[in-house]
Symmetry: C2
């Protein structure tokens, strides 16, 4: 198992993760992102030590300021005693290799003790890397209890962050197009907290009003009423308030019973995505078995009709 | 088969499509978007009459002006004798229900004879609705020979439009973030033609230069060298040139042999996505068979470890 590196068995790797060794965490995440069968062995071993972290999803278009917000939130969570991990699924995120806040170095005081990992967005369902749920389990087993998940997306594709995060923050900027467009794209209803970042720019207050109106189109929500905050992440403005609302949302969920309901959905999604993953590999295999390169040529020339072949295959499948 | 409507058999529906009846086309696309087994019957029947259309993909972020460009291109294609169909996968596209170019009515002269259909982006692979390839076949069978496919996407998710379109146009706007970000997101290499729309805004020329530099980082391309055009779609500026380059790209592909190579990839992708689709339905069934609601509760309480169950299921699967 080359992905395990210096750890000669899955058990040794698991031990390293449980001791919180950075090298073991890195190897373990690489393993669970892969399709190696050993990943399930590792997850089985780590499972009893997982499930306890508070997971905060931060989503929005590239350039909305998600990374800066994430960066600014970290000291708040540290001050509350959390051990913080960051998973960046956005390929344009500074956490995935660029510079945060301009020229600051990568390992400054804020980031000290924070484990940061970027995940491939390839092989994703709905824009969310399938590596996210197992990577969360690895971080939990290593003792991280607050995990920030930064994801980029557009339209429906952002929706899936709900299935991994306990609290979802949608970051908008005044320029990001009007609220009506966002509604049509189905991204309006997904968040627990809305942030209009770069609030010094024109149109921020207007956007907040439009957003509030849009959210209340169907009447005032029962239960949690998502706040809409104005921030200027680059100057640290509005971050205290955001951290406060994140904490309140957690408390609200725990008191209302939403916490368990949502976590049940998360587990369901995680297991389904593992099954989906296995079946996707099968799809590749089935396709190349059903259609050889020369058969594909014939389909291209229309001398072979592919649909009877597909129908026969489908008929041979369970239900 | 309720989705067939007034057509009592698949054969009747197919006949209606082949006669170009708008009502039959609408029913047929609804059917092929569905998971009904009858969709493969219909596709089998239509298959001999398909494969001839020139398919142009127009992709970019919401608000970049894709719909306006599409709208402006239509008269050019009509003048060249094409019968034009439009498939809009962007949920924010005016073609999906809003108003094109402000207040113009939906069925104006430009759109006369043009078949427009919006497709759900749900159930998508990589942001591309799986309904696209079969909907293309329906339009081809109905006699449309130029199909414009408008898709929204971010990052990797835009890439899949390559697998349905012969020519891909990526629409950027000067504000859409810098070229470096787009490169990181992997969207730079996908297009055959680049359009910097809203070129009257600041930064358009600069963006063109940056884009050219980015594209030539790995040396000048062999073969087709993607042009970068400046347009102001809303004023019709630059559309002639764009139409000219679309035509040139088609000719280039036909002369170079890229045409067939690319169409082979398209067929491969279409067949794989149909197989994938069937397997995905199975994933849902498998998940609920493996994990009952009470088993999920136990997983949530960590009294049941789900991974041994998944491993056993995987071991029971073909390869």
């Amino acid at each position: 198992m080359p992905t395990i590196g210096i750890y000669s068995t899955v058990e040794e790797l698991a031990q390293g993760v449980l001791r919180g060794e950075v090298r073991a965490i890195a190897r373990a995440i690489t393993l669970v992102e892969s399709r190696s069968e050993a990943r399930l062995e590792l997850l089985e071993r780590l499972f009893p030590h997982t499930g306890h972290a508070f997971k905060v999803g931060i989503t929005g278009a590239p350039g909305a300021g998600k990374s800066t917000l994430t960066y600014q939130l970290i000291p708040h969570f540290k001050a509350q005693g959390y051990r913080v991990g960051v998973l960046a699924v956005d390929p344009t995120s500074p956490f995935s290799g660029g510079a945060i806040l301009g020229d600051r170095v990568r390992f400054d005081e804020t980031l000290d003790g924070v484990y940061i990992r970027s995940l491939a967005s390839r092989g994703s369902i709905g824009g969310l890397s399938r590596g996210v749920p197992p990577a969360i389990r690895v971080l939990e087993a290593a003792g991280f209890n607050l995990i920030l998940i930064e994801t980029v997306g557009a339209g429906q594709l952002q929706v899936d962050v709900r299935f991994v995060a306990d609290t979802v923050i949608l970051v908008l900027v005044p320029e990001s197009g009007d609220v009506i467009q966002a509604m049509k794209a189905g991204i309006i209803e997904i968040a627990d907290i809305y942030v209009v970042n770069k609030a010094d720019r024109e149109g921020a207050s207007r956007m907040r009003i439009d957003l509030r109106n849009a959210l209340e189109l169907g009447g005032k929500p029962k239960g949690w009423n998502p706040p809409i905050l104005l921030t200027e992440a680059i100057h640290g403005k509005g971050i205290d308030e955001l951290a406060k609302f994140i904490h309140e949302h957690k408390q609200y969920q725990q008191q209302s019973g939403d916490w368990d309901k949502r976590r049940l959905q998360q587990i369901d999604w995680e297991l389904r995505s593992l099954i989906h993953d296995a079946l996707e590999q099968q799809a590749r295999n089935v396709a190349s078995q059903l259609f050889s390169p020369s058969a594909l040529q014939n389909v291209l020339q229309r001398t072979e009709n592919p649909y009877p072949i597909l129908r026969a295959w489908l008929a041979s499948q369970p239900n």
